[in-house]
Amino acid sequence: MADQSVHPSLKPAPEDVPFVLNGKEVVGKKGETIITVAAREGVYIPHYCWHPSLSVAGNCRLCLVEVHMPNPRADNKPTPLPKPAIACQTPVVPGMHVFTESELAKDCQSGMMEFLLVNHPLDCPICDRGGECMLQRYSMEYGTGHARMVDKKRKFKKPQADPLIDIERNRCIMCTRCVRFCDEVAGEHVMGVFARGADNYIGTFGQGPVSNILSGNVIDICPVGCLTSRPFRFKARVWELVQTQSTSVWDASGAKVTYWTRSNQLYRTTPPSRKYHETYTINEDTAEFIDNITRFGSDFPAHEDRWEESRVRIGEGLVPAAFREAVRQAARGLTRVREQHGPDALAVLVSPRATMEEGYLAAKFARTVIGTGNVDWRMSFQTAEASDAAALAFSHASGDLEDGFDAVVLVNGDYLHQAPVFAMQVKEYARLNEKPLILIGHHHDAYFAPHASWQLHCRPGETAHVLELLALAVRGNDNAKDQLSAITGAQAEELDKLLQLLGHAHRKGLLIQSLEDMNGANLPQDVPALLGLKSALGEAWDYIPVLRDRNAFGLYAAGAQPGRLPGAEGAVRKAWGLGESAALPVDSGVPARLLAEKIEAGEIKGLLCLGADILHNAPERERLVAALDKLEFFAVTDLFRSEITEKADVFFAAASHLERDGTYCDLEGNLARLVEALPPAGGSRPDWEVLAGIAKEMDGRGFDYSSVAQVFDEMIRLVAPDFAGSFKALMLKGPRNDLTIKDPGGARTRGPEYNPGDYRIDGAHFRWKADPLPTPEKASPAPERQELNEGEFLVTWGEHVQGSDYHLDRASIARLLKMAPTAEMNPEDAYRLGLEDGDRAVVHTGSDSIEVVVKVRRGPAPGVLYIPSGLGDARFAGLSAAPLARLEAVEAGKEAAPAG
């Protein structure tokens, strides 16, 4: 029986602690603090430094309450403690009496408010935080309303500005939330307190907080206007902006956001604003954090390259045309190709950022109107086999983070930079609830590594083998355990403990696999291997595959790929008005990954592309762009004028993510509404209108939609027949990225449950009952290990959200969001080569040389170099798996050696 010695999370459940709160009998759990229990009981205790995601600092002293303790010397009569106690740190004790609104408590609160204003500039009229500032709010609620301070206030010089986050130190209340956020949640020690006494201030060291993908959250987590958004600085007063609750177009985690708009312009993007404590707040007492790309990179539709009118080709040029005309031309072009070359000479591409409705209509259009199975969104993979392995992964996907987990296994991947919020949620849940985190593979996410209970490292190409051995070991095969120990270098006792932990009767386990690693080069082996482990572990284990593409899961669900229909075939035929015998091409489609090849071979002659980003971001971009010239007909819907859209015969001005409605599905299978925050720019139209228009023009039946809600209703009945919600309700759906998840067994509930009413509606889950994959009888043979000479590495890579991207490149401050190329290596290798974190080096891979900044992290296995693809010149997609690289240090001050 596994117990606490295996992992601290296997401790017995904490006892109940009955006590009295403001005269009412309440029950807490042993180890909980007063503020947590009070919040759960609906008693609000003012607080600045306390936040459910952060460690307790106890420095603002706003949460002081009066406590009477049972006195054993006087018959346990509650006796006042000599001093007030801070509610954020004081644990509940049986029989204690807590008073949060007594004279003493109120005196403490007004005293602290007065102190906090002593040096505060009170420049609310020019402060971006005005209107949503906790200092303003508490001054009204707990302050005295008058100032006794007549002396000169402290003034700081404004520091060297961080390009994204403005620091106005005079407004700081020194709660250190920002410091702790960076240290604990973002996982990088980049902020700190400097100087002493009333002269102390907040500052940054190293590269400043910008380098971290989650750093922007310090803007909201700062209770006052010390840290504000630079791009939003002085642009608007928050109460004048219109808030639209929507979802991120970037993060496949499904992060909820609020778009703040006015006069057809997006002013800022934040985590969802919530009505809380009678005001609108952003991530107050919740963990609704978002990544910097979502926060700062969502304004790309306003780029100057935007084409707001549809266009048709006349001779050499594309000329603006009415939407109806463009639709007619497109229908004519597609019809012509189909008539001359047959339906399979046409293909429909769907951007991975398309909504489910768009994917669904594209699939319906391709299969019923054109009559081909050539519809796909899966472009980012290394090979077509990899995209099929991803489909296998999706078909087994189950579970989400909603009710937490008891143990989590993560296989390969740079989760933080591929699904930032999801990665953060997994790490935070494990960290805050002390749940075991197990990392397996050749590249572990350095974000998780410091919190990992077990790390099993191997070389690229060996992951499947390791997973198979682990599955066998779980089944009790000691031989496999020994082999596992040999290949991963893990100690036998450690493996024993791991096996005990995995074998422990869990309420819920999670297996998480990145489909991004090396663009999926090893997926055909790795996915079945992990699914085999899942079978060995049993029913309690869920599986979540992670892909960077925003709506990958939704498009899979909507049937927008070869081999997949949006629902059961019978139901689909009925919904689409197809008889038993009518053609319904399903399995015959060409995978997107083979498109260039097929065009070159003359098999594909016409293309309808919904969203040119799928082409721009493709691993073989150049080849694809060249191939487009061979098409007889090419229609594209997109936002921008670009090299690709200029090749089109018909161009449809598309409505952006800010300008249209639709449904996204996150990688946990939860739906979220993309909500129209701005009217479509100029003559742009959402893609579903384009598809419906062309379909009707081509005499397609069943395309008479008057709103996207109608498309949703038709689709959802096929995709998730037992879905009980409505399209409208999705808009209100609650904070899926809310970390205030309760750990049913553990002591530390994650903060208060607040205002549950309006916002929490259960997400729709798609669960396909795929049959479990069997655990292999025998592990596949171990691949031969390559000898590495001094300075030689095997390169592993993954696409990076901060890398080059067709849309991100067009965000107003794209330049500031990009990262220089980095190469992550194991401390073991760094030590041997005498390299330190932050050193520069040149990596030579075959013909290419890339200059990188070395990061020393416990992420990559020894001998493995992780270079995020897309950063700077680093591009690997399309190369052979794990290319061999030579690394050369660049001496400080010297230029990098020329390529070659």
Partner: protein
């Protein structure tokens, strides 16, 4: 002058200004206590120290034996940290102990380590005390060579290592939890208690922190017996105490006395009375952090209980004596500047309160105050008593209280002088000349005051 009827054991050589060598210390029977301790069960040593009633000499006066017995059973390693940060204004007793009798301190450290089953002790020494650190380090080296420290203390198989660590000159690092964070290499921030260091201290391990003088007392108690220690007793204050007397007395210095001594005896008998036979104005009895005493409290017994009865604290037993040339407003402004400067800035009441109080005091001292200021000041600082006002009892560590109490008490004791400053529009002491016994005038002006603020 009373004839002392007891033997000086802490600083017998203070008048001679000698520094002991290992040889000399041994010749006087030094390290005998270690030998005795090695023969005792750890619990037995703790018992003896408990029995002696030894209370901490660093400020709070917590019973040492009791603190040691709070260590959780069976959790190792445990650490001993000797608080040699001595930064409390007026306190200057640990320094002669370290500089003149370093081996006697090591004797105490080894005994304490044996008592609490710690194998590693740190001496966290005030940054400015480089001389003391030097002397200590030499003594530590000598002790290693002599086999008193190291893996095998006197061949017993027990291990005790000692590390001398110099601070960087921050008063707050004398606060025990700040001392630990500083020792760990972080910003010297006090930590929230509980957990107390005895449960989770240095690097999260059980840690005992004691003042130099406290540790120094341990071998004395072991060799001379708890009963000897208890033979000097006033209420619950046992043993001899080192009083650091400074200010306007004829013979300032460190006095080793039983805690039955009264303030009057201390000033007028031991220290030779007030300089120039001036009038006594007020006394700060326990380091700058405690409320003030007035001349009508001269019969206060200088024990922990005695001083507490008089409304103040014995603290570090640093007695600062002020004569009638001292402007109390100027004095408290000076002290407030110190706390403003030394507040670590972590928690709201102390960070903002200490600087606000000082700003107000500066204004009053310079004649820019108003009567409302006095009310504001009183509401911030309280009545010079614990848990009154807006700071005391509401901050993370005791520095907040230490900043507030003296201000509250100064205001309570000398309110009329504060009002006089306000009414006059300047400090009445400024340019005021005082007769000196030698027939000269002194001009008690502000030229020589230290400046904390730049």
């Amino acid at each position: 002058m009373p004839v002392d009827t007891f033997e000086k054991v802490y600083l017998p050589n203070i008048e001679r200004g000698e520094t002991e060598t290992l040889q000399q210390y041994r010749a006087q029977g030094g390290y005998e206590a270690v030998r005795m301790a090695l023969d005792m069960a750890p619990g037995k040593i703790v018992e003896i120290v408990k029995d002696s009633g030894l209370r901490g000499r660093g400020g709070a006066g917590f019973p040492a034996g009791m603190k040691w017995s709070f260590l959780p059973k069976g959790v190792y390693p445990r650490y001993l940290t000797v608080n040699a940060d001595e930064s409390e204004p007026g306190t200057c007793k640990d320094r002669p102990l370290m500089e003149q009798r370093p081996h006697a301190l090591l004797d105490g450290i080894i005994c304490t380590c044996l008592a609490i089953e710690s194998e590693l002790a740190f001496i966290y020494i005030r940054g400015e005390y480089y001389n003391s650190a030097d002397v200590l380090q030499k003594a530590v080296d000598e002790a290693y060579e002599a086999g008193l420290l190291g893996a095998d203390v006197l061949g017993s198989g027990r291990r005790v290592d000692v590390v001398v660590h110099r601070g960087a000159g921050a008063y707050i690092c004398g606060e025990e939890t700040a001392l630990l964070t500083s020792l760990e290499g972080y910003r010297g921030y006090p930590k929230l208690k509980p957990p107390f260091p005895a449960v989770s201290g240095l690097y999260g391990k059980p840690t005992i922190i004691n003042n130099v003088e406290t540790i120094f007392s341990v071998p004395l108690i072991l060799t001379k017996g708890a009963d000897w220690f208890k033979s000097f007793t006033h209420e619950r204050s046992t043993g001899l105490r080192l009083y650091s007397v400074s200010g306007h007395v004829k013979k300032p210095g460190v006095y080793e006395l039983p805690m039955t001594v009264t303030l009057r005896e201390l000033i007028y008998d031991y220290c030779g009375g007030m300089r120039n036979d001036h009038d006594l104005k007020f006394v700060i009895p326990g380091g700058s952090s405690v409320p003030w005493l007035l001349p009508d409290q001269l019969d206060t017994v200088m024990s922990m209980e005695g001083v507490q009865e008089a409304g103040s604290f014995l603290g570090s037993a640093a007695v600062m004596v002020m004569d009638h040339t001292v402007c109390p407003v100027w004095a408290i402004e000076n002290l407030a500047a110190f706390y403003r400067h030394e507040s670590c800035g972590q928690c709201t009441p102390c960070r903002e309160g200490s600087s606000w109080m000082h700003k107000i005091l500066m204004r009053i001292e310079h004649g820019q105050g108003t009567m409302e200021d006095l009310d504001t000041l009183a509401s911030i600082a309280g009545e010079g008593k614990p848990n009154t006002g807006m700071i005391s009892g509401r901050s993370i560590c005791a520095l907040g209280d230490a900043a507030a109490w003296p201000v509250g008490s100064a205001l309570r004791c000398f309110r009329s002088e504060f009002e006089e400053h306000i009414k006059l529009g300047h400090c009445p002491y400024k340019n005021k000349r005082f007769w000196m016994a030698d027939g000269k005038f002194v001009n008690e002006s502000f030229e020589h005051r230290p400046s904390w603020h730049h």
